[in-house]
Symmetry: C2
Subunit: 375 residues, 2 copies
């Protein structure tokens, strides 16, 4: 199945001093410059901010969550509206996860079998079955440019035995996903699992990459393990993924994670971190993390981040942001989220610039030692 | 006290067929075209939307609430930041109420005496005293372009006896407000009370307007009486207010109220209605009120209002707005508020245009018979 509509990865400048690469993702909804951070729009909206806010940061790709969208508003409604892009009014590229991560998080209200996973909705307790075939059909109805295979994502600290059995099933499921995949405007990406077992990861990379898919992801990181263990695992795995396909590290991470894993050769990242923390008043800045409700900001007339040119930092003081937050004003959620998304997105723009200049490895070392390298 | 910084009302085209007038308010923070609807920014933010959203609708004046701002973040902090405009990053004009309305709503936790009102904070139960002198000092610290006198606002259905005593005290308080008023960049407006007693209203208008203030307001409407009674009262009172001063109807109202009371000669309106209802999923449109959570909008691909060019209506469908609302997404709050504010603000822009064309009375009749004349 070779289609001109498939997502295609164009490799630009490889970094001479690390495994990092400057690249470009060609999608049916525009070009995405990589390495890239993708904001998460769980139910079809990047929480607390609008497409207008994202456009100001030149965000070219966002995520949707299959599990949530399937339950509400339903993939059939989305399909009838011409797909998720049209339904939510987003003109850039989109990626959907497979729902696997959410479904496997529903401890006690789900059951894993060879055919698939039976689970109960967190909304109303209704019973549902996700099989690889069903998930691909749902993702194709939602119609993102990139759709993720249905895999099992075990906790990082599960036993080796469990991982052996789970990986074998995930590989069988991947074959079923590939067979079920029909829509040529939606590119199927495979997912490598294996927890912190390096040999299992390597074996799984071989199994997954044998399917010659448009892109590959590392899943099962940032699920309870120490960040250092994750960094080590990613450094080991990423270079083994095919160089001519995009490499996506799922659900990661902090600014430190983004730069560290770009050094390892990752091209794509996503995480709810910037938006979720923003809603809790935790802000990422070049001078370190800021908990805006702290009393010390009550009379602080300076901008949130003196080195930031986002809408929030250009117009409002820390004192006002604190006032909005403690007063539970909705504007606090938006202004905080606008800033955090800007921080993550411009960090990656800087990464790309440094890669183009051939100075990334040096810059990364400096950045990782700076106060802006928030964890 | 004649100051060039005082708010000055310029009368433009008076309507030949009604008491309506096209006017202009010159303030230290720009010109406000009247008749005007002023969005309410209770604690220093028009709820759920940003100054950028307001700028798109050419909003020139917003309100702040003295009671709320006094309690948090505190008028002294605001003063130290150079006033409310600077603290919240708003470059247009501002008006503060006197806190009277809020304080008198605190039934059971406040006590009215000749000197002023003792009340307890709704935030933490702490005890406070508002006197006319204290309120003017607080409002001057906050530093709005227009500051309202401290008055008592009794429920519309209080007895005549109660109103007689209350009005006499409110007049004494107004004299104390005028004596306390020092800041020449903040123009003191007097407030006429009297409930639905026309003779009391008329007598109070004489007492209040004798003070030769930069503007006058009708207070104590939309506090429990029937809208028709309010319209009748305003029609009776508004023309008795001096023609060369702005006339402000406080806390009003619906689209029907705005047009009806403009006909009576009102220049300024404020109300939390568009933003509060927006957060509850109630939307004002040219085709009537819309409760967005209704199942009939689940598959409605049309815009919220087919005749609206706000950001929300230009980019999103009723189905998506419904999805955001039932999913409790924060974006729903912003998009709904953006639309409702646009509806109220552009309604008044249309009113001004019709006044300039000399066609307002005819247009008003048609509007009031149309589905857009929401109550």
């Amino acid at each position: 199945m070779i289609s001109p509509h498939l997502v295609h990865f164009e490799s630009l400048t490889p970094d001479p001093h690390s495994n990092a690469r400057r690249g470009r993702l060609w999608t049916p909804h525009g070009i995405v410059e990589t390495p890239v951070f993708m904001p998460v729009g769980t139910v079809g909206s990047v929480k607390a901010i609008g497409p207008d806010d994202l456009a100001k940061d030149d965000v070219r790709i966002i995520l949707g969550n299959t599990y949530h969208l399937y339950l509400r508003p339903g993939h059939e409604l989305i399909r009838d509206f011409g797909g998720l892009h049209r339904f939510i009014g987003w003109h850039g590229a989109m990626l959907t996860d497979s729902g696997g991560f959410q479904v496997f998080s529903l401890k006690g209200i789900r059951k894993i079998e060879e055919d698939g996973v039976t689970f109960r909705s967190h909304l109303n307790g209704s019973k549902h079955l996700f099989t690889p075939e069903r998930v691909i059909a749902i993702e194709e109805a939602i119609g993102a440019d990139i759709i993720m295979a249905f895999d099992e994502c075990p906790p990082a600290l599960e036993s080796r035995d469990y991982f052996e059995r789970s990986l074998a099933r995930t590989t069988r499921w991947l074959h079923r996903c590939q067979s079920a995949w029909k829509r040529e405007h939606s590119s199927l990406f495979g997912i490598v699992q294996g927890g912190l077992f390096k040999d299992l990861r390597r074996r799984h990379i071989e199994e997954v990459c044998a399917l010659d898919l448009p892109g590959y992801a590392l899943g099962g990181y940032s699920v309870g393990e120490a960040p250092e263990d994750m960094h080590e695992g990613v450094a080991d795995c990423a270079p083994l993924l095919p160089a001519d396909r995009p490499r996506y590290l799922m659900g990661v991470g902090t600014p430190v994670d983004l730069v560290t894993c770009t050094l390892a050769g990752i091209d794509m990242f996503d995480c709810v971190l910037p938006t979720r923390t923003a809603r809790n008043g935790l802000l990422y800045t070049s001078v370190g993390k800021i908990i805006i409700k702290n009393a010390k900001y009550q009379r602080d007339n300076g901008p949130l981040d003196p080195n930031c040119d986002c809408y929030t930092c250009r117009h409002f003081s820390r004192a006002y942001l604190r006032h909005l937050y403690v007063s539970k004003e909705l504007l606090a959620m938006r202004l905080n989220s606008v800033h955090n998304i800007h921080y993550f997105v411009t960090l990656m723009a800087r990464v790309r610039q440094e890669l183009e200049n051939g100075t990334f490895a040096t810059w990364a070392k400096e950045f990782l030692a700076s106060p802006g390298a928030c964890r």
